[in-house]
Amino acid sequence: MSRRTRLLLVLGAITGAGLFVLLAWSTGSASRLAQFHELLVYLNVALALGLFGWVLGLSIKLIRQLRRNKFGARLTARFAVAFALIGVLPGALIYTVSIQFMSRSIESWFNVRVDSALDAGLALGREALDAQLNELDTRARSLLPSFANASDAELPALLDRVLEITGVREAAVITSSGRPVAFVTEKLSTLLPQGPPAGVLQRLRLSGSYASAETVSNQAIEGDPSGLILRVILPLGSSAQTPGALVRSEVRWLQLIKAVPEELVMNAEEVREGYRDYQELALSRDGLRQLFAVTLTLALLLAVFAAMAVALFLSKRLVQPLLALASGTRAVSIGDFRPLNEPPQNDEVGQLTRSFNAMTRQLEEARRLVDMNRRQLEQSKLYTEGILANLSAGVLVFDEQFRITLFNQGAQSILGVDLRSAKGRPLETVPGALPLATTIKRSFSHLTATDSERLHWQEQFDINLAGDDAPDKPHTTTLLARGTHLSMDGRGNGYVVVFDDITAVISANRTVAWGEVARRMAHEIKNPLTPIQLSAERLAMKLGDRLEPNDAQLLTRATNTIVNQVTSLKHMVDEFREYARKPVVVFKPVDLNHVIEEVLILYGWDPNTEVSAADASGVLFESHLTDGLPLVRGDQTQLRQVIHNLLSNSRDAFSEQGQGGTIRVTTEQINATDNSQPAIRLVVSDDGPGFSAQLLQQAFEPYVTTKAHGTGLGLAIVKKIVDEHGGYIDLSNRRDGGARITIVLVPMESEVDDIADEDDNHGSN
């Protein structure tokens, strides 16, 4: 509630109370406010109407809120009714009692005894006056004979006597027209007698005498304090005895005026006024009752309406903080944690609001913590997912019905299929994954069937996958897979399979195995070869002369065959030995470019043009060597053989196809990135047919060749040498066709590490 509203309310209350007090005042008949009584009544009625309007407005508002089920309306209504009852019921009670009391008491004022007492009092007054008047009349009459036959000149003396005897204030003889003939008074200032009132003279002629008490209208002029006089007028008879008088017929009157004793007058007046007031009241008793009734009713109305208005108003105010709290609760329930306005009062509601705000703050804090935790959890989950996605191994998660629920990028790239559309479906529906699915199911059923203590199975198997470049030519990939039951919340609800492409691992294993075989073979085979050759030559030499020419010829052919085959066998064994030879390498700083140039010269390469002329089969060599390369740590002879092998491989590939082409040799330095060492890259590429998918998998294994006359050891030896040098080699096909062999070698600077690697190599071999 604003300050202005409060001020207005207080002003209104004061005005209303003042109005009513004025009205109550104005009901008194002696009040100066009496003349405004009517106006005040109307003002109060207007006030009551205003209050009624207010009450009506507030009630209608409340009822409407109740209808609409507005929150808090019910409580407000209950408060309002309670307050209104407290205000209205006592008011109504007091009103009823007052009205009853008032009508009874007003009636009781006007009882018969008071009435008759006043009447009697008035009669008493009249009696007193009459008695005085009678006495005066009697005395006057007793004096009348002395006036008989008195001449005009004697009259003042006579009147003086009358004055003395009767004690009247004024005595006069007047004619019938009212003219004074003689006049005597106590008061010297008075020059003329007080004439009888109009109409009295006419009546005198009829009645013959007059005796009456009169009120003096103007006391100041008459100088009569009492205000009441007694006037007696008696006929003096005709003055026929006066001789010579012109107006014989004229009748004369004696007028006596006597002041009523002051005490009597006062008492009589008192009685008269009392009587008048009483009669006035008696006449207007209905009016009185109405006066009080109106005032009382107005009081009741004002009180009732004011009480109701205040009740409605107060209840609203009382309920307001509770409503604020309630709306605050609602706001909290939908996540709005703004604090409420705290009321300035230090009462219970204020405390409630404060503790509510404290609770809200705690809630908000808690929610913030929960949010933070959730975000951290999400982040860690994202992190886990990221790890899973970037894992090179394939991960597949199935539900109980072997429908895919989760897979990672590794699985897709190993299997070469797009699993995104397969989510929620069995793995069998994915094209090309049927063998894998069968294997996985079988393995899981085996694991269940054996009831093993182990928690996982492990299986290695080959599957045929469609190659990226040639979908019609599937290549075989060896996979190592492990599967476990997925156990979450203490119950089995799925399967996890992790698998990896281990083709390269197997290839490496084969390489090692082949080396061992070759070494033993060479050792075992080479020993008997020389005696076989020598024996054959000796047979030919010793027996050739002794045989028939035909036989000799046969012998020569046979021995030649033996010798040739043994030579060939020897050559083969040498190559084996070369492959399986324990490396006795001496690492020295080697200029790689120089070694490459030396080898290229053998192929007709011109160091000036850096290009060779095309040879008979149309193959030419081209070099893009970067100057200033750091020296490579390595064995010059072996590196030479590596380059030689690569170049001849390429050339052989062209010659088999029977077409020409360009073989490009490139060296460059790879600058160090974050943690990796600087390195030197050697790339030999051509625009020939490239490698087949099968060959890419197994190129480094011995006896894998596409050549008609190759031993299949060329690339195996290259791989071995590069490995020994601590570098690595990669075979791939260029995007625009042709093969591409990349060798990365470490430069001289990082000698220490490489020596350690070398030791490892020694150990493993």
Partner: protein, 204 residues
């Protein structure tokens, strides 16, 4: 809430009933009447005097009050306006004559008082006659009026309720205490006589 509405209805009904019972006691007996019969303006020594004859009849309630010594005050009101076509009429005279009719219960005499001057009357009829005849009421000096200009005067006679006792004013039967004649109009003009100061007036 329903209870509060019922309570309100009960209160309102009650108030209405109370008012009706209080005012329902009203009963009108014989009607009091007053009318202005004759108005005669005349000019004496430069002053406008007014003779007014009234017909007056009081009701029983008033007579009862009078006979019990309650005085009644009457007003004779006079207004004289100069007509103005362009605005409200200009008010020239607005005066009143206060007359008081009383009965002295002690001396059993009637009295009609005009200002400081009071006239006794032997009977009610006489007093009423005195009351309803106004002679030579000095209203205003004639120099307030333009000569040969027509003026409209209006006279009204009424009972002065304000002088009644408060409870009588509040009497439920208010009609008992209402007495007033209609405004009686008359027009006149002053003709200035160059030779003598006494002027003549034109009546209606």
């Amino acid at each position: 809430m329903v209870f509060a509405r019922q309570l309100l209805t009960i209160c309102l009904t009650w108030v209405c009933v109370t008012f009706m019972t209080i005012s329902g006691v009203a009963h009108a007996d014989e009607q009091a009447r007053a009318s202005v019969q004759r108005i005669e303006p005349l000019v004496v020594s430069g002053q406008l005097l007014l003779d007014v004859n009234l017909e007056l009849k009081l009701n029983d309630r008033m007579r009862q009050a009078l006979s019990r010594g309650v005085p009644l005050t009457f007003l004779l009101e006079l207004e004289v306006n100069a007509p103005r076509w362009w605005w409200f009429d200009k008010s020239i005279v607005d005066t009143r004559l206060v007359r008081r009719l009383s009965y002295n219960t002690l001396t059993r005499t009637w009295r009609v008082t005009t200002g400081d001057f009071s006239v006794p009357a032997a009977s009610y009829e006489e007093a009423l006659k005195l009351l309803s005849t106004v002679r030579n009421w000095p209203v205003v000096l004639t120099d307030r009026f333009e000569p040969d200009e027509t003026y409209i005067g209006a006279v009204r006679f009424s009972l002065d309720n304000d002088q009644l006792a408060r409870p009588l004013q509040m009497d439920s039967a208010r009609d008992n205490w209402i007495l007033g004649s209609a405004w009686k109009t008359f027009d006149f003009s002053i003709r200035r006589n160059s030779s003598s100061p006494s002027d003549t007036e034109v009546k209606q």
